[in-house]
């Protein structure tokens, strides 16, 4: 291949990945304009790439660690036995039989030793934590202290243990609450959650891995969805949950973890350190779900781990059962709206609704970090105007300059999904492929969605298009203070990170896009500050919309 060919491929590769900018981008686009076939191919490559990223993640089987350990043991045995035989592949069948017998003998012996000594094998002892070997040992060693401390309000006495005590213990030992004997018998699906949570503790990964572990547990018989929200203020997410629960009937449990309890865990306390309180809402059905269910325990583990790993002062988990796709979408929309408002508020914008709804403004409400003024990008005509976040209970209207991410799914074309990011132009219109300009300004997202769908149907381009519209929040910072600007940018990044993370979940297939709604759980993990710590989400005072 000649040099120019490789250079072109390099450029095209960068184009597919969205890495080009400036003159290079302009030059390549010009080149593609004159090569429509190639342009079509690279555009399809982008779709292929996204499809690959959407492939479901596959976790290692639960017995994988055991299998690896077994292989290591076999290798060790064979290495010892075959020192004189450099090429192991030439091992005779007789010797193989002897080795197998040796292995069996040693394996049985090791198992007996393991059981008697009540601790893992000499190596991989921290790493290995199969569900089958975990319960008995842990329950035996921790059951008493856990039961004792379950009844303690606030930080238990052992919170005075030296700070590094936690670090010296295996996570499984330091984080009790798992391994209740009735877990597997009562709810096999939930047992999968619990197992995933245990593995999470052992691995101690970033909380963002929580969703992967949950989703890909091979013991799961039904879909799971994990939405991790990192917000500086947990209250907006709580408001979103309030709104959601006021209008939907979903079996849920809400699990809250406050700073004191998390701090106690970090300091090495052992015991029941998590609250598990059913959410009080007139529309909730909590029958059949108790705080002692395996699913709740699993969620506790997840929340506790998220809190501890991140040193977060507050973590909250919503555990929902049999949530439909539409309900989940509504929840996400509500979250996005509230987080956008929260970002504005964090930047110093007064948000009366936040204080009213929060009910905990005294010392626990969101803290105005800077005096920077922010305005929505849509209000460019009044740059010094202080933005008023849109109350989540009112449908937000689209405005000129809004950028929309429009997803179009055509069920008649194998659910082919395409996306367009468009801006509402100065005439209040948006442009979509194969359609005339569509009016979007001053419309709600729902109305615009309907309008676009009608257009495609009217033009007989699709019979039943599925349209999804997202509006990423955009803020412009008008303060000239560098520090404030930096802080504001940081907040914006946080928001975009939260939204992006959700997109990442979508790309990984965690957010379902199929027709089998109704059979998956939802975990919503909210980590932030200044949320009510002792009371669950309060019933909404008003019915939104």
């Amino acid at each position: 291949m000649n040099q120019s060919q490789e250079q072109l491929e390099t450029l095209l590769s960068d184009y597919v990945e969205g890495n080009l900018a400036g003159e290079e981008l302009a030059a390549l686009e010009k080149y593609l304009e004159s090569n429509p076939g190639l342009r079509d191919t690279v555009n399809r490559m982008m779709i292929d790439s996204e499809a690959i990223r959407s492939l479901p993640r596959i976790a290692a089987p639960f017995d994988f660690s055991e299998a690896v350990r077994g292989q290591f043991e076999r290798d060790l045995l064979l290495d010892d036995a075959m020192t004189a035989y450099p090429r192991r592949r030439r091992i005779s069948s007789l010797l193989a039989s002897v080795a197998a017998m040796l292995l069996l003998f040693v394996g049985v012996g090791a198992m007996a030793y393991w059981i008697l000594a009540n601790r893992p094998a000499p190596y991989l002892d921290v790493a290995m934590n199969s569900p089958t070997s975990h319960d008995a040992a842990q329950d035996e060693s921790q059951g008493k202290s856990r039961d004792k401390l379950d009844s303690v309000e606030g930080p238990p006495p052992s919170a005075k243990v030296a700070p590094d005590a936690f670090a010296d213990r295996s996570p499984a030992q330091a984080l009790p609450g798992a391994g209740r004997p009735d877990v597997k018998a009562t709810d096999p699906d939930a047992a999968g959650i619990l197992s995933a949570a245990r593995r999470l503790q052992i691995n101690a990964p970033a909380p963002s891995e929580v969703k992967e572990l949950i989703d890909e547990s091979p013991r799961y018989n039904r879909r799971a969805r994990a939405i991790v929200i990192d917000a500086k203020d947990a209250a907006p997410a709580n408001r979103a949950l309030q709104n959601f629960m006021a209008t939907h009937t979903v079996r849920t449990e809400n699990l809250a973890f406050d700073a004191a309890r998390n701090r106690a865990v970090r300091q090495g306390a052992s015991g029941g350190l998590a609250d598990s309180t059913p959410v009080q809402s007139p529309n909730l059905q909590v029958s059949g779900v108790t705080s002692n269910s395996a699913a709740a325990l699993g969620a506790q583990e997840l929340a506790r781990n998220a809190s501890i790993q991140e040193n977060a002062p507050h973590t909250q988990v919503l555990l929902a059962y049999d949530m439909t796709e539409a309900q989940a979408d509504d929840l996400q929309a509500s979250l996005q709206s509230n987080l956008a408002a929260a970002t504005a508020y964090e930047l110093g914008v007064e948000d009366p609704t936040a204080r009213e709804n929060d009910g905990s403004a005294g010392g626990t409400g969101p803290v105005a970090k800077t005096e920077a003024e922010v305005v929505p990008a849509t209000s460019t005509s009044t740059p010094t105007h202080t933005a008023q976040p849109v109350p989540s209970s009112q449908p937000a209207l689209l405005a000129i300059g809004d950028r929309l991410l429009i997803t179009l799914v055509d069920p008649d074309a194998s659910n082919l999904k395409t996306q367009r990011e468009v801006s509402i132009d100065s005439n209040g219109m948006i442009q979509l492929p194969m359609l005339d300009a569509i009016h979007a300004a001053d419309m709600t997202i729902v109305a615009l969605r309907r309008s676009i769908a009608d257009e495609y149907v009217t033009k007989k381009l699709m019979s039943q298009p599925i349209i999804d519209i997202e509006r990423p929040a955009r803020f412009e910072v008008t303060s000239s203070n560098d520090a404030q600007q930096q802080a504001a940018n940081g907040d914006r990044t946080d928001l975009e990170k939260a939204v992006g993370e959700r997109d990442e979940l979508k790309s990984k297939g965690l957010v379902k896009e199929h027709g089998d709604a109704g059979l998956f759980d939802v975990y919503l993990i909210v980590r932030g500050q200044a949320a009510p710590t002792t009371q669950p989400i309060a019933p909404p005072t008003t019915q939104p919309q």
Binding site: E50, S65, F72, A127, E421, E504
Partner: protein, 236 residues
């Protein structure tokens, strides 16, 4: 297509690709935060000195990510198990051969890639006339007929995934037909979310060559998909 549409399309897909890659490149934050990377480096260093407990921790920390990647490198779940297991065994056996500039995962991925390719060669020899041989890339109509059967649900699907999205399923099936090297580079980038530096390290090629290979792999995938679609049209 009017220029505006091209622009819109580019912005949209680029935006999405950038967001995803930003998340993936921040990989870090997704799978291996800085602290985890440091921890793994410590375990790896300890393992090189003979600390098997440390190696066990490393296995536990990497097994899910590696297993997922390997699952997309091979065609059968049982192969994924075997290849991942063998990868860790080889890593332990050859741990002192790892270059100092490689991250443990990148090094292990390289081992896994070689094991998978070796495994595939063995299978090709063993099952020369089997389904596996039929779906070799660019082998002609026989390949496409097999793929059509799979799409129609008449053939066995190596990985029964949760997704029912045909676009994703089509890509997944098409990937099985790629040459191992093409498949590996797509897995590294799109499945595993490796950044260019990691990929270049794993493949031991310069950046320009890496991007060129990545593009060619995407082109190969596209060719297979288009052949599949063309085959479907013929069938219908």
């Amino acid at each position: 297509m009017p220029a505006t549409f091209l622009e819109v399309s580019r912005l949209t897909i680029m935006s999405r690709a950038s967001a995803i890659h930003a998340a993936a490149n921040a990989q870090g934050s997704l799978r291996m935060p800085a602290s985890s990377v440091d921890l793994q480096a410590q375990w790896f260093a300890a393992a090189r000195k003979g600390d098997r407990v440390a190696f066990g921790k490393l296995v536990q920390a990497l097994q899910d990510r590696l297993y997922n990647a390997v699952s997309r490198l091979v065609n059968r779940p049982e192969d994924a198990m075997d290849v991942t297991q063998e990868t860790f065994a080889k890593a332990l056996a050859n741990i002192n051969e790892c270059r100092g500039d490689s991250q443990p995962y990148t090094w292990m991925f390289r081992i896994a890639m070689n094991v998978a390719i070796s495994d595939r060669r063995k299978q090709t020899v063993r099952r020369a006339a089997s389904l596996e041989a039929e779906i070799k890339p660019r082998a002609g109509d026989d390949q496409m007929s097999t793929l059509r059967m799979r799409l129609a649900g008449k053939g066995p699907s190596p990985f029964e995934t949760a997704t029912k999205n045909e676009t994703i399923e089509r890509v997944r099936i098409a990937m099985e037909s790629l040459e191992p090297a093409e498949r590996a580079i797509l897995v590294m980038r799109d499945v595993d979310g490796m950044d260019y530096a990691e990929m270049a390290n794993a493949l031991d090629v310069p950046l320009g060559t890496l991007k060129s290979r990545l593009f060619r792999a995407r082109m190969a995938l596209r060719n297979v998909i288009e052949a599949m679609e063309s085959g479907e049209t013929t069938v219908n």
